[in-house]
Symmetry: C2
Subunit: 217 residues, 2 copies
């Protein structure tokens, strides 16, 4: 399928695709060869019509009376998500959060390769966490250009993140995985994916407070 | 406003509320007293009609010709999000990720108080990170019951998370902030908020691959 055919996919569907991918990976690891949209939807806790509608957006991989071929669908969704190639990443900020990302080996299995970490703290520069070296933030631009780095994970405080976004844009970064609690202003061609933990916690809090009537005290 | 009046608020709006709250907090720290829905929407990069529609769901805090009173709106949204009271949290898993959460002081400012960490590793039990003590996982149930713990942050591998979800449910936890890459099966009255970093990274990857035509190489 050509990229052009996929232009109108909504971000709502994109948000659901990684979850389909995860469930298909689990089925695959259990040697399940095929699954009906009904069984797949029950497993995922969504309606069968949502499964069919979502997957139809990508040309539809199901066959009437057969269901979905798990391996094919897994691979196709992987391709759609860009997981069929390697994405080089740098982590900026060698605090606990940066170290946690560097130590998380599942990313590499999906083609996300953390190549280096950067920090401004002389005590951290030169150290290595989970096999990933920490370099001086002053070397960031050169490193990005020399090592085909596509994504920068920003695990620094807000003020530093805003400043670094400009430096990353100038260095030619393509995507920013932003953990700082602010919206980054970057040129349009740069993709920003935010992970705002405080906001996630507030949604949890909202749902706690507003489901209070269902709960036993 | 009564809880019952808010029953029909969609999760889509709930997802946006913390962001409104963040921008209002920033305006407040800049001593801005009031703002029109037009100016507010420009600041946030959304349409003015979305701002008005979203906030109308909560009774609408704007006044024609005046705009929004920043402090009032900030406080009202805070209440809606349940930020007007303290939520006690335990972090399960004292790895880098758990330590990062324990060290993040902004949570407490919003009323989210991390009271303790739990781990099964004897080398970690008895230690303290960011002022938070690590206890044995065997003490978890008693601690939750004795300390009015509302939320458990799960920063453990998938298999452990699935097992712990049952223990937490039995201990009477009300919310789980789940960082494990799996969907937890818990009784309906327990609220689960997932932070699936791998899926976030896949969305970033998708958007990178599918905006490729906009990029210069």
């Amino acid at each position: 399928m050509d990229v052009k055919d996929r232009k109108k996919i909504s971000q709502a569907i994109i948000k659901r695709l990684p979850r389909y991918y995860r469930y298909l990976g689990e089925l695959l690891s259990q040697d399940v060869e095929r699954i009906s949209s009904n069984d797949f939807s029950k497993l995922m806790g969504v309606t069968a019509s949502q499964v069919r509608q979502d997957l139809n957006n990508f040309g539809g991989f199901g066959q009437q009376g057969y269901g979905y071929n798990v391996k094919n669908l897994y691979e196709e969704i992987g391709k759609i998500l860009g997981l069929d190639r390697v994405h080089n990443i740098v982590v900026i900020g060698a605090g606990n959060f940066g170290k946690a990302l560097a130590g998380y080996k599942d990313f590499e299995k999906r083609g996300f390769k953390i190549k280096a970490m950067f920090d401004q703290d002389p005590d951290k520069i030169g150290k290595s966490y989970g096999g990933i070296n920490v370099y001086s933030i002053n070397e960031l631009t050169d490193y990005i250009k020399a090592n085909d780095i596509e994504i920068a994970a920003l695990t620094v405080p807000k003020a530093a993140a805003i400043q670094l976004a400009g430096i990353l844009a100038d260095a030619g970064i393509k995507g920013i995985w932003n953990f700082a609690h602010t919206d980054l202003k970057v040129p349009r061609q740069i993709v920003v994916e935010n992970v705002h933990l405080s906001e996630s916690l507030m949604r949890l809090s909202y749902n706690l407070v507003n489901s209070g009537n269902k709960m036993k005290k």
